[in-house]
Symmetry: C2
């Protein structure tokens, strides 16, 4: 049976584009090594019609579909399930979009480009630059491996959200292969279109559970030419939030990044990453790195200096530069936090958001609750404070204590997420739900909202074959 | 029967908040005087629970619901149908949200405010200013009468879209009474939340066909302090589009407006609106008014001058000012076009969009086709060229010829919309569908997209009682 199915896929896309066995194995496990499953095959369609044909075949044969791009999901959204109810379907297949990597068109005057789902983010950014434009999404470590289809399906975030929005905000139109194999051409290149329900927003952030995004019209932006960076030592997160509100009202939307770094993050980076150094002579508990960028040649250093000198609510010390090397050396202190943590050991991670004004309360309450329950716990808190999005990770600094601590991850999660919920926050700000938080959202979303989501899922994916076991 | 239903509504919201007969009549006809219908009553709930109770009652009694705010719809979306199939439902009722006009909260640090659907746009803008913030949506003539619920339900646009986006882009969360009367609390104040399908986007722009929006969390922005305006005479629309691309790449997103005005518009304004005058000594065919705004005190006049002096593709002459009176006098030439047209007589109007790069082709093709078919026709084309959104109106200058011309409106519409479709455009850029274009979209949207829309409508509004006969 499996063999004949694989043969059928081979007929649809060519035998050399169907991987099985050990060649397929890397596609069955996630990047973090947490999730792995098995499938009939990994199928690599060449174009939208082939995606459509493969999906139609799966639908007719009750085969579950796992859409996959660069397979960089942090929540197990892009790999087959390890186990599933065989009464629902008999097989799983991975449809990998990586072969669909054409830039279909670029319109510099309309500030748009139409790209296929398998383009990598780095490729899209490069082509934009070649056309004197900016595509602002940036995920640093994975730009060269993550793909646009995945960026769309997870509504990707990152440092640039503050200025340019999430991936959802960077899209004008989509092409989607629906769960029944039909192709929806919603590749609009329009800034304004009020002709009914805006269907594209259903598929963005749906993690492939409502269809397979095959192409998209992306918004482009002018390229900034001037830039200035500040590194600011602050009393506490409350000072950071006040500073952000102050900077926004004085410098406006030319703030292209505003990231907070706590002392434990900095210590880990200084310890594990070569060529990094403390920015100030003194060792402060909290630090913000912020950047202004402008397409005009304007004196941004002066703007930062003026804004910072008029800020009186808790800045201990600050440095400003428009030198790229100096700026890069500060940014390394932020960008290498994940890497430094990984070297140091495993931690219990949270990607949460609350209203920006509530970040200080969140950190205060979560720190207090965890320290009470787990004396000696180390909190590594950092991230996109300008979006209210904090990466909040907990571990025990001594390896011997960390293993038993990790066994309490459910309890740690509950403590953190309950505080997030109490502050009207989100338990997944940018990484998505996937398999990782599929059960957890049941405790943090209203029954009505889950019912609405299931209703929409059922309307679009009647047979429930599109990335089952993820999100909902 | 009707009397007992009206009594039931009175019990739910108080007798003084249920209008019937001549008191209700103004709510049964649209602002333009094109659509009018009849209903049992206009019911004015005081809060979300009352909306929920009224909707539940309607659902149990098969009464169709027309959600209404300021009743400023340009497409008949907010009034009862003149005629309907009584096999589907026996009665209609208007639920007017105007009493729900509380600002529930404002969080200047989070740059958000939570408002009820019945707040007027002017009220929201004023409260933002009082908190040293900007709410950027502006619809000039109707700011004091249109309401936030309607702005959301029609995904309102206007001049500020270029810089700040449509209403859809200005919202973080919604509260909605669903067609079965249940209340969905999606009032999130988060910049990032990737926990499943983003349901709010379904209700925005749905013109009340999927539920009644009762409250929203709106995004606020810093207030600009510096400003400069340019009035530029241009060879043709192609020059205007090139100029826009050039300005965006040199001045960036501080362009807060970029509007095109053609000679016939200008002539109408100069003829009918007192205290208006030609900006240049010479009489040019095309003109753009653009504005830069910034929260920093920067020399925007100089920026405009530098950008315009380096533009070589068809600017005939230009004027720049940062004087508010001078700027206002130029803006009046744009803002009074609709008024001047109305005084001049009736015309066949279109609110269309195409990719920005295609605007010149659209105007060229549509002008040629209409002039061929209707010699002597006057085209009044103007609007948001930076968004690709043109208000494209046709009439005969001599009143005696205009009446017979108006009888050809179907043909005129078809000529214009077919060209829009050919250029991948939209037949309703910002005004919506309502009753006006409900049939027309069947020719311009794919059968699959309409099927998806109907599927979603049926999932949320099983009985089809929520603003029936509008949109889909």
């Amino acid at each position: 049976m499996s063999a004949s199915l694989i043969e059928a896929f081979s007929k649809l896309v060519g035998a050399e584009h169907v991987l099985t066995g050990m060649f397929a194995a890397p596609h069955y496990k996630d990047k973090r090594g947490v999730y792995s499953g098995n499938a009939l095959a990994v199928v690599f369609p060449a174009d939208t019609n082939q995606v459509s044909a493969v999906v139609s075949f799966c639908t007719s044969n009750r085969i579950a579909i796992i859409p996959q791009g660069g397979n960089t999901s942090l929540c197990g959204a892009s790999v087959p399930l390890a186990d599933f109810d065989r009464k629902l379907y008999a097989h799983q297949v991975v449809i990998n979009l990586s072969r669909m990597s054409s830039i279909r068109s670029i319109d510099a005057v309309n500030y748009t480009m139409t790209v296929e789902a398998g383009c990598t983010l780095a490729q899209v950014r490069d082509i934009a630059v070649q056309n004197n434009r900016l595509f602002p999404l940036g995920l640093t470590a994975i730009d060269t491996s993550c793909e646009i289809g995945g960026n769309l399906s997870t509504n990707a975030g990152g440092i640039g959200v503050l200025r340019y929005g999430n991936m959802r905000d960077l899209v004008l139109g989509l092409e989607v292969v629906l769960p029944d194999g039909r192709i929806w051409n919603g590749l609009r290149r329009l800034r304004k279109d009020n002709t009914g329900y805006d269907l594209k927003h259903l598929f963005i952030g749906a993690e492939g559970t409502l269809g397979i995004i095959t192409a998209a019209v992306l918004k482009l932006f002018p390229q900034p030419v001037s830039q200035a960076t500040a590194c600011i030592a602050l009393r506490d997160p409350a000072a950071a939030v006040s500073l952000f509100a102050h900077l926004r009202s004085t410098c406006g939307d030319r703030i292209s990044a505003f990231e907070i770094v706590s002392r434990p993050c900095l210590d880990l980076v200084l310890q594990h990453i070569p060529d990094t150094c403390e920015p100030f002579k003194q060792s402060y508990q909290w630090m913000v790195i912020t950047e202004l960028a402008d397409v005009l040649n304007v004196p941004l250093e002066a703007a930062l200096r003026s804004a910072l000198s008029s800020f009186t609510e808790g800045a201990e010390e600050y440095l400003i530069t428009s030198n790229k090397d100096q700026s890069a050396s500060w940014w390394n202190l932020r960008k290498f936090i994940s890497e430094a943590q990984k070297i140091d050991g495993i931690s219990i991670k949270h990607d949460v958001s609350v209203p920006v004004s509530q970040v200080p309360t969140f950190i205060e309450l979560a720190d207090a609750a965890l320290k009470l329950e787990f004396p000696g716990v180390r909190i590594v808190a950092f991230g996109h404070i300008g979006d209210g999005n904090i990466h909040y990770n907990a571990s025990m600094p001594e390896p011997v204590k960390n293993a038993p601590f990790l066994a309490h991850s459910n309890k740690v999660n509950r403590i953190v997420y309950d505080i997030v919920a109490q502050l009207d926050g989100s338990i997944s700000a940018e990484h998505g739900i996937g398999q990782l938080k599929r059960e957890k959202i049941n405790s943090y979303k209203s029954a009505l909202e889950l019912e609405l989501m299931r209703g929409i899922k059922h309307t679009l994916d009647t047979q429930g074959l599109m990335n089952p076991g993820k999100v909902i």
